[in-house]
Every structure is written in C-alpha cells, then in structure tokens.
C-alpha cells in the first residue's frame, strides 16, 4: 500500500541555542510607569512619551481580537518583560566593536554579516534583543543622504520626520496589537530615502529574540520621498524556548510621488515542537501607504516559522496610478498555524494590485489565506489580480481561503484564481527515481510551487528562502 506521504522523522528546530550575553531586563508587567521607564531609557522627547501613553490608554480599552483562524491559550500581558538590552555600549562604528559572541550567533544562523557585507554590499542593521548593536555602511548611505538607523535614534536625531510619519499609516489605536506596540516598542529600524535617490544598497535587518520572556515590539518606519527607491530585507530566527513568546511588530511604509519600496521578509522564528509546545506568537501589523502618484509598494514574504502567524501586509493605494503587490509563501508544519494575507485598498484612479499567495501545509499545520481587496468609489479603472494556491502534504493538515472583495466602483476589473492540490506521490517518486532523497524531492517540488514568489526576492534572499523551506518541511514526507 501507499507508504508515502506521512510525517515520519521530525526534525528538531535547527537554530535553537541561546547566547549568554547579559541582558538588562525590566521586570515583567505593564503600567504607565513601565512605559515612562522605557521612554526614559531611550532618552525620548516628551511628545513620544505622550503618544505612547495615549496608545496604552486606548489599548487598555481594547479587547484582544479572536477572529483569526488560529487557536492559542490566553496571553498574560503582565508576565511579559517589555524591555531588554545587551548591557554594553550603545554606539558602534564597525563590526569589530561588536561582541564576538553576537557575531558567532549570527554565524550559527548562517548569516555571516561580514561575508554578506563584502559579497553583496548589504548594509546590515543587526537588531539584537531590541537594541541595534551593529550598523554598517552608514557612511556609504550617508553620501546619498539615506538615513538608516534604529528608530530610537531617529526619534532623537530626526524628530520632525518621525513625528510627521509615525502612526500615519498604522495609527496608535489601529488594532489591539498595534496599540500595544505603540505603547511599548523599544526598537526597530528607520529609513528615509530623499527625493530622487535610488538607495545604492539593499537594507537588511536581522531580528532575534533572545532574553527569556522578552516580547519583541519592533517598530519600523520607512519613508521613500518623491522619485526614490529602496529595497529592504528583513529576516529573523529565534532560539528554542519552552514558553510562548509574543511578537507584535508594526511596520509602516510611506511612498510619495513616483517612489517605490520593496519590502522582503524571511520569517523563521521558533515554530514550537511537534506537539505545539513553545514557539513564537507572531502578531504583526504591516501596512504601506502609496501616498503619491505612481508610487509602488511591494511586499514579499516567506513565512516558515512561528507557532502562530497573524499577519496581513497591506497597501493603501491613495495616489493615482499607484501599485500594490503582495507575494507570499507561508509554510505550516507540525502544529503551526498561520492566518495571513493582505489588504489592498484602492482609493486612487488606475490603481493596480497583484496578490500571489502560496500556502503549504504539512503535519498538522493549518494555513489560512485571508485577503481583502477593496475598491472605493473614486478608484476609477482599478484592477486587481489575485492568485491563491494551497498545497497539502499529508492528510492531517488544513488549507483555508477567505478572499473578501468589496467593490464600489463599477469600472473595476477583478481577477481571482485559486487552487488546492496535494503534493503528488508520483512527482515525489519521479524525483526519487532520479536519485533525489525524499527531502530533496519534496523541497524541489515545493520550491517549484513557490517559484512565482521566490522570483520576487532579491537573489541571495531567494537562496536562503529555498534552504529554509527545505529545513522547515524536513521529515514531512516519508
């Protein structure tokens, strides 16, 4: 009989290790005092503190949302520690000044920064436990007038820019997790690309959650001024933990006239063990505003990690002729749950959006695509193309698709395609008959399935994405 497609040897999470850099951690719990302490530690101006407190007071009144197709036990927000920082010096000019242990950690993750730096010319802003510890290529960027720094630094150094744009895409009271983030965010990145500048480097950040029970509340703000272009890469991994860790990040993108932002994510946080113990709760709000004419925002994500992913990177297409794109690969294995998709809000004339979503479920994983395409009254000749494909590996996993469409202008053109398929035993056998291992066979077939998304990734990220996909599906096919 068919011995084939069933979970067998399960692969332990390969990136599980803890770095013992001393953390300076605020005791668990959340209150106005804790927020004041965070703000003070960061040396923030009073408007920032006021904004945080406003968010906090709103958050207190908001119920935790439970509409997503995911299940998890109650989160004790008072048990979370809202601030952790490596103890040493905040400012670094070069990688040589970085704690060697930290660099080793990155190396273990297969992210040799220095290598990368040399080979690919990537400026890396390494965020380690909520504080930036390494910033490179600053000088090169500075020459072009590009600002790329920790957001806490931006709050101090470029208050006008931050004040103008922070919360302008994701308001402090947008949703429960965004409000929480607004109240307590400790770090994240800030990017400003001036008018007409094509950012000469791909900007890259590696996030890592390290200190025990430290929630990560990253806040990223990217502003592409008129006629500029920037490509931003975000990639992460976390160590094995026996307890759930909450991650509630907010990313805001603003593209002005003719500006273009490409935002690529590889998310590989600890997914929990085979029984669903541990793992990261990844509740993220990502949104971009195509504010200017002919502006463009493109989201590409490869989500292989986390116990629960709750994430809908969206685009508000305000400017006429603006373009929004969303390319996604989401993998759930073992007991992982993902509820992810996008929101495309068409406001301007001739706005166009493209959605390509690839969901892969293995083990007992549950994968939900949830997408909203909204065409407002004034959005003459708006167009959307959506393609949602699901692949099932084994028969204990699930794929679900919830495409919401709301069209209020009759000139809109909407196209939607969806498919669900089981990974073919014949395909796997064909590859094995040519000498490929079962793992490589599955990995190859799944990679082929994801091709349309991977081709949107910057070259070296694509390579990493393929490797990750292989790792996260290891053991899913016999």
């Amino acid at each position: 009989m068919s011995s084939g497609i069933e979970a067998q040897v399960l692969q332990p999470y390969k990136y599980g290790f803890v770095t013992d850099i001393e953390s300076e951690t605020v005791p668990p719990g959340l209150s106005e005092d804790v927020i004041r302490l965070i703000s003070q530690k960061k040396g923030e101006p009073s408007w920032m503190l006021d904004w945080r407190l406003k968010a906090y007071r709103n958050w207190l009144k908001m119920p935790e949302p439970h509409w997503a197709n995911v299940q998890y036990g109650p989160i004790d927000y008072q048990a979370i520690s809202y601030y952790a920082a490596p103890k040493q010096r905040p400012k670094l000019d070069s990688l040589e000044q970085v704690d060697p242990k930290l660099l080793e950690t990155f190396e273990k993750l297969g992210i040799p920064i220095e290598e990368r730096k040399r080979l690919a010319g990537v400026a890396v802003d390494a965020v380690f436990d909520s504080v930036s510890v390494a910033t490179t290529f600053r000088e090169e960027l500075k020459k072009h007038g590009v600002i790329f720094c920790a957001i806490s630094e931006a709050i101090r150094e470029y208050p006008e820019l931050v004040q103008q744009y922070l919360g302008s895409v994701v308001p402090y009271n947008d949703n429960f997790f965004a409000a929480l983030n607004s109240a307590v965010f400790t770090d994240g990145s800030f990017v400003y690309v001036p008018k007409g500048v094509r950012c000469p480097l791909e900007l890259s950040t590696y996030f890592r959650i390290n200190a025990e029970s430290t929630g990560q509340f990253e806040r990223t703000l990217i502003i592409a001024d008129a006629g500029s272009y920037v490509s931003y890469l975000e990639g992460c991994s976390a160590p094995v933990r026996d307890q759930n860790q909450l991650h509630a990040a907010v990313v805001e993108l603003v593209a002005l006239d003719h500006a273009s932002i490409k935002y690529s994510t590889i998310q590989n946080w600890y997914p929990g063990d085979e029984e669903g113990r541990g793992g990261i709760y990844n509740f993220v709000t990502k949104r971009g505003a195509c504010r200017g004419r002919s502006s463009k925002i493109s989201w590409t994500q490869v989500e292989t990690g986390s116990a629960i992913t709750w994430k809908y990177p969206g685009c508000i297409l305000q400017g006429d002729d603006s373009i929004g794109e969303f390319y996604s690969v989401a993998v759930t294995n073992h007991r992982q749950q993902a509820d992810t998709g996008t929101k495309m809000i068409h406001m301007g004339k001739n706005t166009r959006s493209t959605i390509v979503s690839k969901g892969i479920s293995a083990g007992r994983g549950q994968n939900t695509y949830r997408g909203l395409v909204k065409i407002l009254k004034g959005a003459e000749q708006a167009r959307n193309y959506s393609q949602c494909d699901s692949m099932l590996i084994g028969d204990q996993c699930g794929a679900h698709t919830f495409p919401y469409i709301d069209v209020r202008n009759s000139t809109a053109i909407m196209e939607h395609e969806a498919s669900t398929s089981k990974i073919g035993e014949d395909q796997i056998f064909y590859a094995k008959q040519r000498g490929l291992s079962p793992e490589d066979a599955v990995s190859m077939i799944v990679n082929g399935f994801c091709k349309e998304v991977f081709k949107e990734l910057p070259m070296e990220f694509a390579v990493e994405a393929q490797r990750l996909l292989g790792i996260s599906l290891e053991g899913s096919v016999g």
Binding site: Q427, R434, L436, A441
Partner: protein, 256 residues
C-alpha cells in the same frame, strides 16, 4: 554464467490496490544484454518496471530480486537510482517551476555524491550537457523549461532519453519510450539507446512495436501475459508477434 548477471528476478509476485498483477515473474538479465518485453495491454509490464524502481503503490508479496547480487528491495527507490537503476516512465511526470537543467543537475549530483565524487556546479554541468543535447537533437531551450511541463507526448519521451543519456545508468528500463514518437524521433531515441550500449550495462525495453527492435537488436524477447513471462525467444519472436498477435500464445499458455 552467473558472473555477469546484473538483474535476477525470481518468482516475483506483486499486487496493486489489492489485486495480484505480477504472478511469478522470472527474468535474468546479464551485463551487455538488451531484453525486450512485449505483451498485451494490462498484462503487467509497467507494473514490473515500477516494482523494480520501487513505486510505493505496488506491494511485493513474494519472490526476490537481486541487483548486482544485492537484494534490490532492501534499497529505497533513491538508492536504487543512485546504484544505477533507471526507469524511463511510460507517463513522465511534470514538475512545475523547476527547470529541466536544475532537475538534471540535482539528479547527477545526487548520484555523484553517492559515489563520493564532487558535485558539479551549474556552469560545469552545462558544458557536459551540451553534448548530450546534441545527441538527441535538442537545443538548449528545453533546459530552461520546467520539467515536462507543457511538453508534448513525444517531447516527454525524448526528455526521458536525455535523462538516460546524462545519468548513464547500469540498468535502464524503458517503458514504452518508443510510443508516441514520430519516425525521426524514434530513430534518434533508438540510436541514442544503441550508442549507450556497453558490455557493462543492460537495457530492458518494454515495447509494443517491432520497429524499435530493428534499431536496437535485442538479445532476448519476452512475452509477459497475465503477470507471467509466458514465452522467451530471439528477435524473430517479436516479428512473429507482430504478425500473429498474442492470442496464439494465450492458447499455448493454457494448453501448457
């Protein structure tokens, strides 16, 4: 004589979906030989091929198979492939999004790794591939297309032969690779197979047509009917079958 035996099938029984399809197949293939297997539709030819390759849908219920003296069924399918067993599928499978070149290189490298050889990079591999492409009369545009995706029936068959030529196995099992080919393609395929013939490898050719056997002279022709090899002979047996069909054999089998 046993020295040169590459494949020895003994009293092989196999079921699919609970039905016995192979009912005691005996077959000995020596290095340097080409065996043709003919027989009516549904008689179990592809089943035999798939069982030898290790397809999980088929269950071996009795008998054994020695490949180079080793128990073939002790090896998972990928190991059989790495040890030199190649099956050209009657119905080649498409893999979306993966180029032919990448697929082929992965296969070559899996085998090289198994042999302790260094894996080939894309550039080195391409060089080696160019020559093979010429042999089957293809241009390199086929390499950048996804594996068998959108290929015509004949193109898929040719693609199997390209893989055969690149992987250069010890035991090639060609399951109706000659079906669906135009006359020129048939000639090319036959010539390729013939060129690959060496004293240290062997081919099992499943076919319905005498024609291909005029290009590749078989050492033995077998008739598989009702899950058994009911008759074996020389090349002339194929010609006889071409003229008479299989009915007379069925009668002969029941009489016997």
């Amino acid at each position: 004589m046993t020295e040169n035996v590459l494949l020895q099938v003994q009293d092989l029984h196999a079921t699919v979906e609970g039905r016995e399809v192979l009912r005691g197949v005996d077959l000995t293939v020596r290095a340097g030989e080409v065996h043709a297997i003919m027989g009516p539709n549904g008689s179990g030819k592809s089943t035999l091929a798939q069982v030898l390759a290790g397809h999980p849908a088929y269950t071996v219920t009795a008998g054994r198979v020695l490949y180079e003296g080793k128990d073939l069924f002790g090896m998972p399918p990928e190991e059989r492939a790495r040890e030199g067993v190649f099956l050209a599928f009657q119905y080649p499978v498409a893999i979306r999004g993966i180029t032919n070149a990448y697929f082929l290189r992965s296969a070559v490298n899996a085998i090289r790794k198994h042999r302790g050889q260094e894996e080939l990079g894309p550039v080195e591999f391409m060089d080696a591939l160019e020559a093979k492409l010429e042999v089957i009369g293809w241009d390199s545009s086929y390499l950048t297309r996804p594996v068998n995706d959108g290929f015509s029936g004949g193109e898929k068959k040719r693609n199997e032969i390209l893989q055969l030529a690149v992987l250069d196995p010890k035991l090639a099992i060609l399951d109706e690779t000659d079906s669906g080919l135009d006359i020129d393609a048939l000639k090319t395929v036959a010539q390729t197979v013939d060129k690959l013939r060496r004293p240290d490898n062997a081919t099992i050719l499943v076919t319905h047509y005498y024609r291909i056997l005029t290009h590749i002279a078989p050492d033995v022709v077998h008739v598989l009917a009702g899950g058994r090899i009911v008759k074996s002979g020389g090349k002339e047996l194929a010609l006889e079958l071409e003229e008479k069909g299989y009915d007379w054999l069925r009668e002969e089998a029941t009489v016997a």
